[in-house]
Symmetry: C2
Subunit: 113 residues, 2 copies
C-alpha cells in the first residue's frame, strides 16, 4: 500500500466509487461532498501538487479537462453549470497531496469561494 | 473590436495589465480582485466555456497549468498556496463567456467556495 490514499484508489487498493479511469487519469466521488455532485479527477501519476508540475505532464492536463467536460455532461450539469477547483498548499486548504481537480455542481456557488 | 472583452485584451485592443502571453494563452490581472493576487489565464482561442471544449484544445490545457504554476512562483505564492478556479455556466457564476482560469492567492481561502 502506498501512503497516498489517491494512489491506492487509482490502483484499486482502497475503496472509492470510480466513475472514470483511463491510462492518464482517474475520477471518483469525493467522500465528503460539498454539493449534490462532487467528483475528484486526478492524474494516475503521483504529483503532490501544482508546485511539482512539469512540462512533461502537459498531456495529462488536457485529459483532465476533457474528462471534466464529459463528466459534467454525464452528471447533467452542462446546462446548470459547474466549477472546477484545484488547491495548492496551505492557504487554499489542500488536504490530500496528490494533485486533484474538484468538479462541483448541482447547486448555486458563492462568488469565487 | 470583438464583442468579447477577453478577445480584445488578447489582441491588445482593450486595456489590461498583461503578465504573460505566448501563442496559446494570455494572463492578466483581474479587474475586480478578490484576493491580494488574482490573475486570469485564458486561451487565446475564443472558447466560450468548458462546455465547448474540444479534444483538439488539449495542448492548451497543459499550457494553462504550466503558466499557472510559473505565475504562482513569480507572485510568491508557491509556499503560501493558491487556488485555481474555472467556472462554467449559471450555477458557478461564470461572468465572461471566454474560458478562463482564476489564479487566486495571498490570503486564506474558504473551504472549496
Amino acid at each position: 500500500m502506498s501512503s497516498c490514499i489517491f494512489c491506492n484508489i487509482i490502483q484499486g487498493k482502497a475503496p472509492a466509487e470510480i466513475v472514470y479511469q483511463d491510462e492518464l487519469v482517474t475520477a471518483f466521488h469525493d467522500n465528503h461532498p460539498v454539493a449534490p455532485v462532487h467528483l475528484l479527477i486526478v492524474p494516475n501519476k503521483h504529483i503532490p501538487s501544482l508546485n511539482e508540475w512539469e512540462a512533461s505532464d502537459e498531456p495529462t492536463a488536457g485529459r483532465l479537462l476533457s474528462v471534466a467536460k464529459c463528466l459534467a455532461e454525464q452528471f447533467h450539469l452542462r446546462q446548470s453549470g459547474y466549477r472546477l477547483i484545484t488547491n495548492t498548499g496551505a492557504d487554499s486548504g489542500q488536504a490530500v497531496f496528490h494533485l486533484h481537480v474538484h468538479l462541483i455542481g448541482g447547486r448555486r456557488m458563492r462568488f469565487l469561494g
